[in-house]
């Protein structure tokens, strides 16, 4: 039994738009699992299906099941799923702009029953992100993009999740900051034992930190494997890593004017 298991799930928006078409994936406890894919492949929908956030978007899981620690969770309301230990860090940071940094962290701890441990946990978040400590009383809306992403991850830590769903943490950040954020994601995984399901556009980055990877297209998983297997796959190289089949960086002077066919589509 895997820690998290999605079996043939189907998600439909507005009763008509089929977005996930029988998607299956698994995550073992303590792993970092990467979920890669182009825009519109259904990555965010997959995360929202797990965390129960489809409802406000008028989406629903119509087939298949999602098992977390062996129990079905796809019909539970979002707040119950958070209580069971799953926390989604949404795309685009989504900090509460008019709240201070500290209030944002407290909002993350909303479902916690052990009130006396919240202060120590906040200190722990500050050791991961010292910059947040300096800005603890500032309004979150005025933080820089990188600091907001740190706050979004710190806010998730406050809920003490056992499974963290990260939706494009690198979005819109400078390369150095991206590296800093990813280092911390790995540290959180090691030190807290948090299982991480990571959605990324930046395939190279994600495969460097992950234990296992899935590639999705059009609402299905088309390829899966260890990061090494994926990195050596010719299609992945061509379409996700920007390398030619032999592994050299692609030169745009020699760009082919025909498209390589994706083998997995056959």
């Amino acid at each position: 039994m895997a820690f998290l298991e999605l079996n043939n799930i189907e998600v439909i928006y507005n009763d008509v738009i089929l977005v996930l078409k029988g998607l299956s994936l698994q995550a073992e406890q303590g792993q970092i699992v990467a979920l890669l894919g182009a825009n519109g492949a259904g990555k965010t929908t997959t995360l929202k299906a797990i965390s129960g956030l489809l409802k406000p978007d008028d989406g629903e899981v119509t087939d298949g099941n999602i098992l977390f620690e062996g129990e079905p969770i796809h019909h539970l309301p979002a707040e119950e799923i958070v209580r069971r230990g799953i926390f989604q860090v949404m795309e685009g940071r989504r900090v509460f702009e008019h709240l201070t940094v500290e209030e944002n962290l407290l909002a993350g701890a909303y479902t916690r029953r052990d009130r006396q441990n919240i202060r120590p946990d906040m200190e722990r978040v500050y050791t991961y992100f010292p910059r947040l400590r300096e800005r603890r009383h500032q309004t979150a809306g005025y933080l820089s993009g990188g600091e907001q992403q740190m706050l979004a991850i710190g806010r998730a830590l406050m809920a003490r999740p056992t499974l963290m769903l990260l939706d494009e943490p690198s979005l819109g950040l400078a390369p150095l900051l991206v590296k800093e954020i990813f280092d911390i994601i790995v540290r959180i995984n090691r030190e807290e034992g948090t299982t991480i399901l990571l959605v990324e556009q930046n395939a190279r980055l994600a495969l460097n930190v992950a234990n296992y990877g899935y590639i999705m297209e059009n609402g299905r998983i088309v390829l899966e494997g260890t990061p090494d297997e994926l990195k050596n796959n010719a299609d992945v190289k061509e379409f996700y890593l920007g390398l030619t089949a032999v592994g050299e960086r692609k030169s745009y002077r020699n760009v082919k004017h025909y498209k390589r066919r994706k083998r997995w589509l056959q």
């Binding site: 707040e79 958070v82 709240l99 209030e103 407290l106 909002a107 809306g141 005025y142 820089s144 809920a159």
Partner: protein, 290 residues
Amino acid sequence: MDKFLQLTITGLSMGMIYALVALGFVVIYKSSDVINFAQGEMLMFGAYLTFAFVVQFGLPWTIGVLLTLITAAFLGVLAETFVLRPLIGEPIISMIMATIGLSSVLRAIINAVWGPVPRQFPGFIPTDVIQIGGAAIGLDRLIAIGVALIFLVAFTLFFRYTREGIAMRAIADDQQAALSMGISIKRVFAIAWGIAGISAAVAGIILANIVGVSGDIGILGLRVFPVVILGGLDSIPGAIIGGIIIGLLEFYTGGYIGEGLNLIVPFIVLIVVLMVRPYGLFGKEIIERV
């Protein structure tokens, strides 16, 4: 000078009543974007409940007021659960229309139970007149200011520091993100309506003590619109300061310029504010990072 002091105190007490009603209004708008047209009727209901508990059931006023606050909170939650919750996800205009319906229902219930004849409110708040520097000021006015101040401070502290208060402000900022931290939107909406019920009832009791219990006091619900527009629809400090400004303005114009004009002035302010600063004095600014 004496006249000024007298007008200031009476204006302030009226302003505090406005502030309380406006607070309930803002809390609902802030968390759910709904404009509650039944706020005035909720205030009326509070006044009638106290009348019923103290005069009709003969309970001591302390217990009567306490029961009123509990019932008012319960009534607010009830209204949210049965009238507004089924409409979550529907256009906001349907919810606003539902609050207009709610106001009619409340008014009809009050009419059916207590009839249309104005009643004498139980005089448990002393109405002695005291002299402050030559101005004659009713003790009930001062008590009204004190009581309202206590409730306003308590509500402000609630929003700033408690778990539910932070959750309410989080929902006002980003509903879906709040949902992703396990904050229950239904629960927060229910709390918002409960708070609106309590603050309206407190205002109702204070007001009824001054002018008596009748169907007329519900009109205050509409006179609070200039207050919230001035302060900013989504600002709690704005509701308080807006209430005080409008209250003072009404009594100064009534006292110095002419009786009757005081009823118009708040709405002139409303129009000016909408033209110059449509989000109000303290309304939420859109944060833009540069």
